[in-house]
Each structure stands twice: as C-alpha cells, then as structure tokens.
Symmetry: D2
Subunit: 395 residues, 4 copies
C-alpha cells in the first residue's frame, strides 16, 4: 500500500475529486503539483482549492522556460507534426509534468504518483511511461481511469465531499500551453460539423483579421528561433510574440482526424499560431542548408521523433538517439526566413543563410551559369539505365 | 546517323531553333509534335510556325483527358508533393509527351526523337528516360543541351534563318498544364526576393479575393474526385473548376527551395490551385478511412512515388509496384470532404465516408462511450515496458 | 454468457485442462478443433483425448495445403525474417487456426472461441485479433491466460478431473509446422548457454552431416518455388523435401534474442531448414530480376509485412495493401537458383532467369563491353555535386 | 592546365601506364602514393616501379591503423552489408585513399590528383567525390576512364615505353585490404557458374576445414570489438586474428548479384572472414541491449549509412548525421558474444552484457515469472482495435 501520493493537479473536476478519493481509498497524504507551462490560469486559486480539498502540500512550479527550451525547441528542430497536422503541443507537456512529479516524489519521500487522465486518450501513456522510466519503483495511480465514475457520479461525489465545482458545464474540453491549445468534445465530435467560432481563443476569425499582411522575419540559429524582426528574445517571449502576431492574422487553426495510440480515431481541433508559423519557417530554412539526402532522411527521423512524443515515449532511448542525428543537422540551420502572414495563411516569401547551398551562379538560367551542361548527358543516361533495362520485362 | 526526327515542339525559341538546327545538322526530316495538356495556348499558331520553319509534318495531340485520368489522378492518390511543396505538375506531363513522341515515331517510321530541355533541369531526365524505356532503339537528341548556344546566339541564329521570334523578352520562364504553372527565372532567382504580383496568373491576390469564404464539397470515389458540390464532372472539367474557384480565392501559390536531381538547389515558384485544394481534401479523407498503420506506411509509399515522378522515372517498374499498393488502399477512399476557401487558405472543415473508421460511439467523451477503459491499464504498461527497461541504461 | 465454445485444441496439458475448465465455468458445450499444419502428430490420439475429457464434437482439419499456399508462399515472397532471423513459422499458422475456429463457430452456431495461449507470448495476439477481425461478434476466451493456475495447479486439476497427462515432464516447449520448429524453455532461458544437441530434431549435427556437399536447384515462378532439381512438386511436397535435404546437411538452426510484442526480450531457438534455404534462394533471385530501387523499397515492404505477421496483424488491411506491391514485383521473380548445402551452411552458387537484368555484355570487364564509359564522368560529378557543396559547411 | 599530379598508385598495369601517360599528356610532375590498408603486397617493389616509370616522388603510407579505427570500426557499428551481402570492404578504403591524396597534394603543392578507376565501377565515385569534397579546387583526373585504351593497347603502350608488366595474365581482378577481398572477372562473369576454388585465398575449402568447431568469444565495448577470447588487441591485430581463424574454418565466402551505382548489375564475389564473423556477433549483441524500436530504426539508419559508403558519399554530411545516431546507440553495445565457427558457418551460441534488456525473471515460462499476465488482455484488445475496425471494409 502507498502512504504518500504526489498528484498532478489541474484544479478541474477530475483531479479535485481525485484528491479526496485517493486520500480516502489509500488513507494517504496527498501532495498536489501544478505546472505553469504557459497555460495562463489563476494558479493561486488552484493552490487554495487544493489545500481546501485536503492536500497536505501544494507545489506550484513555473516550468515555462524549461518547457520552451527542452521540449518545444527540440520539437521545432524535428518539425514535429503528428500525422502532418498536430504540433504535439499537449503531448510535449506531459513528460515534463511526469519529470516534476518524480522530482517532488523524491523530495517528499512519496511512494506513489497519480494523474487524472482517462483511459481513452494518449496522456495516460505520456505520464505513466515517463514516470516509470524515471523511477520504476514508484507506484502510478490513475484514479479517473480506474474508479469508474460517470461525470454525474463525480459531481455527486464532489457535492457530498464539499469539493467546489464550477457552476457552468463547459462546452469543450480544453488543454493549453505555450505551444498551443487542444479543443475537444461537444459538437466537434461530429466530424462533418465545422468548428463554431467559439472554439477559437488565440486566433481571430480571418474575416476580421487586418486587411494588410504582416511581414515577419524569424531568425534561426542552431535550428531554433532566436530573433523576431531582428530583435533577440528569450524562448518564452519569442513564442508568445509569434502566437500573438500570427493569431492576430487568423493563423493557427487545425482540424483533422487523428489516430490515438489506444486505437481510437478522434476528431481533433487545435489552435497553434506559433507552432504552425515557426515550423513552416524552419522547414523552409532547412531546405536551403541541408542537401537532398539529408532532407529525405531527416523526414524519416522527424516522423519517428514525433511519433515517440505523441505515443508517450519521450523517455525512450530512441529519442536520445534520434536527437543526436537532429542536433547534428541543426548545426547548419541558421539564417533568416521572411514570412507573410495574412488572414489565415503563413507563407514564406524569402530566406537567406550563411550556410546556403543555393548558389545563384550555378542555378541561374542566364548564360553566366557555371553549371557545365555537358555533364548532364552521361548523368541522365546512367540515372535511367536500370529503369530502361527493367521496363521491358514489366508485365 | 538518323534520318527522321520527331521533335517535341512548344512553339518557343529553343524548339523553333531546334527544327532548323536538327534539319541542317542531320540532314533529316523533322516531324513536330505538340500536346495539349491544358496549357491553353494557340495551337494553330504553333502548327503554322512549325511548318514555316521547316517541319515536314506536325502533330497536334489533345492529350488532356489522358493526362487527367492517367497522370494527374494517380498523383492525387499518391498525395504527390515533392519535398512537401511541389505537386509535380510539370513533371507529370513529361512522360506523357515521351509516350506520344514514341507513338508518333513508330507511326512515322522515325529513328530519333528530340526535345528542347536544357542540361540544368529535370525535364531532360523525364523525357529521355521515358523514351528509352518505351523504345531503347530510338536515338534521343537534346539539341538545346548539346549545341552550346547562348540565348543571344539562338536569337542571332533565328534571325539568320528567318525563324520568327517574339519581340518582347519574357520576364519569367513559364510551363503550365491542367495541374499547375511553374514560374522561374528573373528576379525569382534571388531567394530572398518575394515574388512580384506579376508572377501569378491563376490566383488572385488574396487581398482582392472575395470577402466571404467559399464552401466547396469534393466527393471522392476510389481515391479520386468525381463531384464538386454534388455535381458529377469529367476529370478535366472538375480540375478546371477547382482551379478557377480556388484561384479566385487566392489559393495555390507555392514558393520554396527545391533540389533538382542534377544536384542544383533552385528557388521554385508554382501556382497550383486545384492541386493544393484537392490533395488537402484527399489526405483528410484518407485519415478517416485508412488505419494508422496504413497511413504511416502509405506516406512512405507516396514519398517514393513522388520522387520517381520528379526524378524522371515514371516508367520504372517500381512505379507500377507502388501503384499496386496505392490502388489497393484507394478502394476505400470514398466520401465527401467539405472545405472552406478564403483569401489564400484552403481548410478542411468537415468530412464523411461510408468506410469511416471514426466511430462516435467509441470516441465520444460522454458516458455513453462503448470504449472499455479497463483495457487501458494493461495496454499502457506493456506499451512502455521496453522504454522503462532500457531507460535506466541510458548514458 | 456463452453457451457453445469452439476451442483450438493441441492435445497438450493446457488445452486439455481447458476443455474441462471452460465446460464447468460456462456450463457450455465444448467443440474442439485441431489443425494439421504439418506438425506430424498422432491426430487420432488427440481426437480420442478430446472426446474423453468432454468435448461434444471434435474437428480434425487437414490444413496443410492451404497453409503452404496461402500462408507460407506469401512469406517466401516477402522474404519474411523477423529481426533478420526468425522465419515467422509459428506466427504464420496462428491466423489460419483463427480462421478455422471462426468457420467452425459459424457452422456450429457457437458464440465463443477459445485458445490456450498464455499472456506472455505473441500467439494470443495472433489468434484473438484475427478472430475478432473475421467476426467481431464472437467472444474470445483465453482460459490459460486468465485462470491463474500454475503448472502444478494444472496438473492437480487434471488429476482431480481424470484428464490424462503425459508422465514425463518435457524439457522444452515446442511448436512445429511445415515451415519450422520453435523450441523454448529450460536451459535455453540462459542466453549464454549454447543449445544442447537434444534441442534439434529436424537438423543433423553438422559434424555428422555428409562429407560431400549437396547441390540443389530450386526453380521459382511468380515468386514461389515450383521445382526442386527439375522436378515439379506441390507446395507441401516441395517444402517437405527441402526440409529433409537441408536438415540432413545440418542447415536450419537459429538462435537469437527476440522482441516479443508485449515487450519481453526472449531467447528464441528455431529449426527451419526449408525456410532458411528457400528464402536465401529467393532473395538471390530477386537481385537478378528487380532493379536497385525495387530491391531497396521492397526491403521496407518486406519488413513491414513480416512485422504485421509477427505482431498478430495478419488480418490488417495493410497486409493486403503490401501484398499488392509484393505480388506485382513477384511477377518477374522466375528462374533457377543453384545452392550448395554443406554442414550447416546454404550458399547460392549460381542463378539464371528469363527476366535477368544482369547483362554480361554490359557488365564484362573485357573490351567487348557495350557500356559507354564516357558517360561516367558527368554522372560521377553530378552524383556528388551536393555532397561537395555541403561538405564545406560541415562543423 | 595542371603541372603537378598526385596519382593513387597500386603498382598494376593501369596506374603504371598512367604515370607515363599523365606525364606526357600534361607535361607534369607525377607523385605517386601507395597506401597500406592491409592488402599485404611488396611495397618496396611498388615504390621502385613508380620511380622507374617516372614518378618524381613516391609516398608509401601505412594507413592500416587509421583504416581500422576510422573506417572499419564505423562499418561494424553500422552492420554495413550492402544489399545484405557485401561488407563494403573495398568501398571503405577509397575515401581514405582520397583523403591521403589530398593531404599529399597539399603538402606537395600539387594542383591535380589522379586515380586509375575505370568508368564502369563504383570506385571512381568514391575517390572523385571524396577528393572534391575535401578540396574542390583540385582537378581530378581519371586517365584509365578517359584515355579509351583497350587492355591490348595498354600493353602495347607499356612495351613501347619500357613500363614493366607482369608476364602472366591474371585470371581474376582482385582488390584486398584488412576488411576483405573482392574478386571479379573471368569465369565469374557468368552468374550461373559456381566460383572455382582458385578464387579463394583467405578461406579454406570448408571440406578441408577442421573437423572440430572453434568456439570464439568476441568482446565489444562502445560498439566495436576489443578482445578475442579474453585477450585485448589493437584493431589491426584483432581483425587479422578473426580473418585467420574464421578463414581457417571456411567462413567468409560471398557470392551475389550486386547493383553498381552506375546502373550495372554485376556478379560479385568476396572473401571477408572477419567482416562476416564480427558483424554477425555485433548484430546479435545489439539485440540484447537495444530495444525493439531502436533496433527497427537503426536498421534504416544502417542501410542508409551503408548505401552512402557504397555510393561514394563518405564525405556527405549525412554520414556525419547518421553516425551521431549510431554512436549514441553504440554506447550500450558492450558485452561478450560466443560464436561457433565450423566448416563455413559462423553461428552465435551465447551472449551476455552489463546492459542486457533480457531479464530471465520476466521472460521465464516457469511460474516464478514476474510478468503480470493480467495486463495482456487489455494490450491485445487495443493493439488490434484498428485492425478489427478496418477489416470489415476490406474489399
């Protein structure tokens, strides 16, 4: 049996009920942990609520910088887009929460950690596997998944135990952090329904966006953004700024059908202005500095990296292996990308780099080109030799 | 030596000079061939010009339907986007030109075919390899690549031989067909320069696009579009219509750094309203009907297919192998995708299919869900078993 | 509750106990099914035992031909070797067992099927997922996994219920069929221990194998073997023959560390004379008839096919998609491969094919070669162009 | 024009003729360079010959240690086997030769380097591209490819210019170094012909190999072999020793159809006792210490690394990127592999590692196993969820 439990606490109904439920079921001390990963909430209110319900101690951890530097930045280097659409924003925060839960457990001498994820999503994988990878001796509890209460039963339980609950039912289930918002549930569950405007909070309706395009220059070094329009910023400021400007231009809305690792197809809606804008720029710059073979292979590496993160395998040694590759390619990903942001679309319109492989003297179609066309005949013939030889046997 | 040459004739300077040059150099009869692949030119004018310069016979071939059905449709099934940006529009037309050149050569008893491609691009690969694959006994001539004339020398040669030339120098070099326009040269050769507005012909400046979004429903069957807004159309009409409507909403502009097969990095600008719109819809629908493993693997197949087409290997047996895979998956790619087209962006906002794997009874977060959450604990633990076991040895 | 259960019955302790246990627990009729997939057992004895323990009906199904043609032959086309070592022999038989269980269930109007797999291996995946894929309405029972009896408890249960049990404890746990034997347990569980000679039944100790090599010619058509040493044979005879001859030469022993899908690393020992010999020949022939791009891509396809089969996903649509690719390439996999079998090794020493891409006139180093070396300079330079351009920026 | 040429000199006919031919054609000083990469030749004789023909200076460079450590060892880490058969032995030595040519050119102030490769093989790619990548300003000359002499003309040229030539025509063309021998030409050009025994020099006819197996323990650290049978050795000694012992047991013979990069299919025969033995051991050990995802992905990385080396792209930045991945995985590739070498086959029969993921407490089938089988039901069901859902729509 466990006696001291560190619970990832969001302040919402599930984890609020969990404080009391875990305490009673295990007769254990409950320590709550809330991370600030840029989700912009009232952390004081959350803390008060935790204590009120029965936590013996609460940790409020500002993890924004660590999140930006050690989680979002690697995702930029990997052009992380699960199924070509989702910038794994929620997925990135989960292993950081797991890491902090383990740190607090060690500090407090706890023997268990707990989280409020359901059994239908991916977050259970992300938190549980990371916790176990970092300390297999810790027990991991998933009260929401295991107690089998319906929402109505949770509310009844809350009432009975004097757990404060919000008076209005939320239309959507939302998770957010510096890298984006995830919106689920309600009318979005019909994949034929277009999302209503009330889904969106970080992006303006493109129809109401400015009539003039915004030109933005993003400067990268070592594969990550360091300046916006020539101004150096720390990672948090930079991402915040891009979120704001891109969102103001209606950029960042995502709507697709997604494959959860447990096998469910779900309709997912995200709002990620900075992620879409920065990754579009990053991919463009990579094309200028990496050669074709590197680009082709890095796409395979990026896909694998992204899958690991989505699938809860942040702590897998393979991530470290893949990042060794990615970091090596990133050494040359340096330069400036110029983007045009306008009413919902972010388009690269210019780029430059000290490591550019684009060479106008070679590429130009005018007669000054240094490219020796007499080399092409042999190339063309040998490039196609096996195609020609094998085509005749095709049935 | 060759005595009868079939020349792919565009009506432009290079191939006009080639008629005369080939005739003189080889003392051969020249037969010219021009394909209509949707590029919208004055084919009568081209024919007259060919005869005037010295062709003994001219073929004007309307290949639009064959191009749409046998070249563009497979590209839709393969979500073909070279380096994630270029819908291989020009690349698709080249093997069809090669096929027609070989057909005419056989009909006319010619012993050679010729094309006007330079030695710096990809088109030489696409035409030469396809011609040889279809008939290795034909000699392939590439006068433009081999004669070593500069543009000024070409003009001088044209004047001397009474070859009509356009009086105005073109700012850009353009190739176009039903699937898109390619625009190169001039100020675009500086990758930091944003494309001027005069680059674009098929897309309206998003600033001048309609203030109200256009909602368009594209219906697919067997992996290809068959109806727009409920109306059945043949492939040519359908693609034309999407080009028109998407272009009117400013959709279809592409600007990126591209790797040519000969090793040159080039800055390429394309305008492909239908291609971007239809492939976005097709990818979305695939997510609804193919399972995660199929989607992941098909992406590898699609990338390989696209590379083959870009790299001039249309006739490689591997294309046929890959299409066997793609066609099998396409059997279930059926349904309707609803898109919102607005000032430069095409976004999917709804989709439905008789083969949908999305099951609201499983996916819903409300308590009616048929998903048995008690299965998840075992899944999560075993999914992460090796991650946990191997993490402890990580250095 | 279920009332009629179709049980996959091997005649061993687990499934014998299961007859009684299922009958009692569910108060259900038990129908037993035993497949002959070439494992060479006393099927009459098995049948009698089933009835004696309490089955109301027993099906003995000779599935050898179907197994060879529809399961082993596709594995040959896919060069199926899980983790480069295991010819998925046991894995191949499981979906066939599942298919027959479903067929019998439909015929008998049963509402459940049952299998004797434990929770630690891969077979539970292979049978359960295939059964559900073919008929999701059937209940699948896994008594061995779920009852929680130790081996001693099973024996006690058997004694108590008059279930006949073998008087000698087996040293190894063995599964076998036409495509190979799997041997597990006992001293093999220490991966440092070399397998004892008593592990092997189908292969002679190489030291005792004939002093003279056996030369064997295997003829393939459409990617599968059709003749041995010029003699046509049906699939069963052919595989039997190769098993016998290769085994006689000490060929077919496999020993490696394997990753089970549930996350366990296990030490696995197999004995697969025909599989190793035929696949070695098949791979060699493919190199003669497929071009380099096909070979490279088919390796990816083969790996994925093999993984699906190993991982219990025989019925996944992706297998059908992959086989469309594989079958297309197999059309040209025709010809004869000459092998030398000697004291444990099977080496290809010659091959010929009507679709051979090997052309001695091109390949020969003597001066008659038709290969035009003047083409190479251009090829070499352009092949390396980006390597040269990007190398200078390497850090 | 060039005035000082550094020539890679083997002492054979091609490069001997090249000394004189280059000298005359370019009126240039010729400096010859011969590397000792373990090929076991009379280097004094080669040096004398170079001077006699007209070299103004000769470099004899003992590169064995650098070759073993910086070229062979990375190949072991990458399990390098081109098309699953060829340990890229010759391919590995070429970029080292290129590097030394460039070093000598810089030291001597030469403006060109030259090599004796023909236009039909891969070596021209390997040397030329590596030289240009290291110094694009150097001219690269390929006299043998460009002069267009037949072998008879070469001999005539040699006679006329007093170039000593071997009196006996060689049956095969051979290249060898520490990592293996390549044998080509003559009767081997018929792929149906089994190689005669006179092809082999490093391996004994298995029929004459010892009647008793040799047990050999290879210890690895950081992904490379460091001890044989408990005895530490430097890389050269170690590889030499394994070549000797494995060769004595008839191990190392390779015969397959290979795809050259220029498009030719060739029949290639190699003799690589150490390479086959060590890589077999290395792959086995990797299975013990890397998890399934790492193994699966590393196979892709290994294939790409091997292709680069085979295809002349040693200096491509992608190799450095891939090695970052490979080196990260190699940190845990430590332990001992026990092999049985016997009459042509090398089989792993035991392995152990401090980083082993094999855990007998989990893996064992006896009742002491710590694996919780109750977790499997959920895993099996969710693992197959999409297979089951999508199977019903399969056409």
């Amino acid at each position: 049996m466990v006696s001291k439990i560190v619970l990832a606490y969001s302040g919402g109904l599930d984890t609020s009920v969990a404080i009391k439920w875990l305490k009673e079921k295990y007769n254990a001390d409950i320590i709550t942990v809330t991370l600030d990963v840029g989700q912009k909430e009232d952390f004081k209110f959350i803390e008060d609520k935790a204590y009120k319900i029965g936590a013996i101690k609460h940790y409020m951890i500002d993890a924004k910088e660590e999140f930006a530097r050690d989680y979002i930045f690697p995702a930029i280097r990997a052009n992380a887009m699960y199924e070509d659409k989702y910038p794994v924003s929620t997925a990135l925060s989960r292993p950081l929460i797991a890491k902090k839960l383990v740190e607090v457990a060690h500090k407090e001498g706890a023997d268990a950690v707990a989280h409020g994820c359901t059994g239908k999503g991916n977050d259970q994988l992300r938190i549980e596997i990371s916790v176990r990878a970092l300390d297999p001796s810790l027990t991991v509890l998933a009260p929401t998944r295991d107690w089998g209460m319906s929402r109505d039963q949770e509310i009844e339980y809350a009432r009975k135990h004097n757990i404060p609950i919000s008076s209005v039912a939320k239309k959507y289930s939302v998770d957010q952090n510096l890298w984006g918002r995830s919106i689920e549930g309600g009318p979005l569950e019909d994949p034929w329904n277009a999302p209503d405007e009330d889904v969106w909070e970080w992006t303006i309706d493109p129809k109401k966006a400015p009539e003039e395009p915004t030109i933005m220059e993003i400067e990268f070094k070592n594969g990550v953004p360091i300046k916006i329009d020539g101004e150096s910023m720390n990672p948090i400021e930079l991402i915040d700024k891009v979120n704001r400007i891109a969102g103001l231009n209606g950029i960042g809305r995502i709507d697709h059908i997604e494959d959860r690792i447990v096998g469910i197809k779900s309709r997912e809606v995200y709002e990620c202005p900075a992620a879409l804008t920065i990754i579009e720029a990053h991919k463009d710059l990579e094309k200028m500095v990496l050669n074709r073979r590197e680009l082709t292979f890095k796409k395979i590496v990026d896909n694998e990296w992204t899958f690991l993160i989505y699938a809860g395998l942040w702590e897998d040694p393979l991530r470290y292996d893949l990042e060794a590759f990615i970091n090596k390619t990133s050494e040359r990903v340096e330069g400036i990308v110029k983007m045009k942001l306008y009413k919902g679309s972010a388009m690269v319109i210019g780029r430059e780099s000290p490591y550019s492989l684009y060479d106008i003297r070679v590429a130009t179609y005018d007669s000054s080109s240094t490219f020796d066309q007499s080399l092409s005949k042999g190339f063309v013939t040998l490039w196609g030799l096996q195609t020609v030889a094998s085509r005749k046997f095709l049935k």
